[in-house]
């Protein structure tokens, strides 16, 4: 009798559990489980623009996007108030146009006043920093061919087209450490096909230049950051290193970059081979970049 009751109680207990289990199962289906489309996305907005003062960043355009930048540097600020601290002195201006061929490859064209340099540039993403596992840095490769289009007819030795060329390859490796801090390291190599006093570089006898560039951005406000760049010559240690310190303001599609730098240069080959002023003698120049982004097509 007792044995039978135990069996019945077990049956009731088991049935109740089963019923409750089904009820709970039904209840748990009430809401959809929230799942992320990508649980390890790439880190975004390591820098505000494709340029960091004068260096390339790891920011690339998407397919169909178009980036326009106008860059300036002026005379040395130690030229005094009569020259509005360099603003009245000859500006170096660079017009820069970049197009997103696809999400990983960009093509660019630019023209700089200094040596009337026209450049054709390709930028390619090698890897992207991931939020969790995966690559800890973003890396791009940048290639450019420049043509010095200055009038050099005054020279006794004529310049052929190939004499006017320079070639630059650089890597941009960057990591966004936090919403505030991003760091960039960029080895840069440049070769000038022909050099001489007519080319605006520091050492007219040297055709090969290798430098280690670096920079960082630190956000002091959600849309404003302090920026610093340095370029240390490796292959030509007698050259003066470049230093720049700036302030970026971002307004969505526009990025305004204002800076003081020791160089007049606005592009990589002249940045690493060009003349740099001394900080101790206030041989700094004011400069600014205005960056704008458009969508050309899907």
């Amino acid at each position: 009798m007792i044995k039978t009751r135990k069996k019945d109680l077990f049956a009731v207990f088991f049935s109740t559990l089963l019923f409750l289990g089904l009820s709970v199962a039904e209840e748990s289906k009430a809401q959809l489980e929230r799942t992320l489309a990508d649980d390890n996305p790439s880190v975004e907005l390591t820098f505000m623009a494709p340029k960091h003062i004068n260096l390339y960043t790891t920011e690339l355009l998407s397919r169909g996007e178009f980036h326009y930048s106008i860059m300036h540097t002026f005379g040395e600020i130690n030229s005094g108030y009569q020259n509005l601290w360099g603003i009245d002195n000859g500006a170096n201006v660079r017009f820069y146009f970049e197009y997103g061929l696809n999400d990983r490859t960009n093509l660019a064209f630019s023209r700089t006043s200094q040596d009337k340099l026209i450049q054709f540039i390709g930028r390619r993403s090698i890897t992207e920093q991931k939020r969790d596992s995966g690559s800890p840095v973003s890396v791009n490769m940048n290639l450019s061919i420049g043509v010095n289009t200055s009038d050099l007819s005054f020279l006794a030795d004529s310049y052929s087209f190939s004499d006017r060329l320079n070639y630059t390859v650089s890597l941009s490796a960057a990591r966004k450490f936090s919403e505030k801090l991003s760091i960039l390291i960029s080895p840069v190599y440049t070769h000038f096909a022909r050099t001489g006093p007519e080319v605006s570089i520091d050492d007219p006898d040297t055709q090969h230049y290798f430098s280690a560039a670096s920079g960082f951005r630190y956000n002091i406000l959600p849309r404003a950051a302090i920026t610093v760049q340095s370029v240390v010559p490796i292959s030509n240690p007698d050259l003066t290193p470049n230093l720049g310190i700036g302030f970026d303001v971002e307004t969505g599609g526009h990025v305004f970059q204002m800076f003081f730098t020791t160089s007049r240069a606005l592009n990589e080959p002249y940045l690493i081979a060009g003349e740099n002023g001394s900080l101790l003698d206030s041989e700094l120049r004011f400069g600014f970049n205005i960056n704008r982004l458009f969508k050309l097509h899907d």
């Binding site: 009751r5 809401q31 907005l45």
Partner: protein, 186 residues
């Protein structure tokens, strides 16, 4: 006691049969767009990653989208929206959970299309607000349902700042349009 056991098994059988005929629909594909209409600029953030569920027995309407999948056509703007305004690292989902307050019986009876209204909570950035959403449910592909709805949200209700220095003018009111194909899952 045998009777009790029998009754319990009968209940279980009933529950099983009931579940076999439950009317639950989940999304096969879903589309959502956030439309910003400012005086000088209209643009959309769109995603085809809208997931949804309609359970006619429990009278439950539930859908969500991972805001990381929103695209406005310019990646730089997408990144800006995600990082500066929506903060999708911390608050990845926009979601609605509620119930049909109009049209439920019509849908249960299979009388489609039906004008419907759902009341519930729409949540973004972990801030939930009561909303009433009007839309239509019509016959979908393969015996499923097609839900289309639209409503307006105010950004300040969800503590979303608008750009103070403009490059894109972002409207304070965003029109949300959704379209989900739902298929019966049991």
């Amino acid at each position: 006691m045998n009777k009790v056991t029998t009754v319990l098994f009968a209940i279980l059988f009933g529950v099983t049969v009931y579940n076999a005929h439950a009317q639950e629909y989940t999304s096969a594909e879903g589309y959502v767009e956030f439309v910003s209409t400012a005086p000088l600029l209209e643009f959309k953030g769109v995603s085809d990653q809208l997931h949804g569920l309609i359970d006619l027995d429990q009278n439950l309407v539930d859908y969500y989208v991972d805001l990381n999948t929103l695209e406005t056509g310019i990646r730089r703007r997408d990144r800006d929206m995600r990082n500066s305004y929506l903060e999708t690292d911390r608050f990845p989902f926009a979601e609605f959970t509620g119930e049909l307050t109009k049209g439920l019986e019509q849908i249960r009876a299979g009388d489609l299309p039906a004008n419907v209204e759902a009341s519930g909570i729409f949540t973004m950035r972990d801030i939930g607000r009561d909303v009433a959403v009007e839309g239509t449910i019509s016959a979908g592909e393969g015996g499923g349902l097609l839900l289309e709805a639209s409503w307006i949200v105010r950004l300040e209700d969800y503590d979303i700042d608008r750009p103070s220095v403009l490059f894109y003018e972002l409207s304070e009111e965003q029109t949300i349009n959704i379209r989900i194909q739902l298929k019966q899952t049991n």
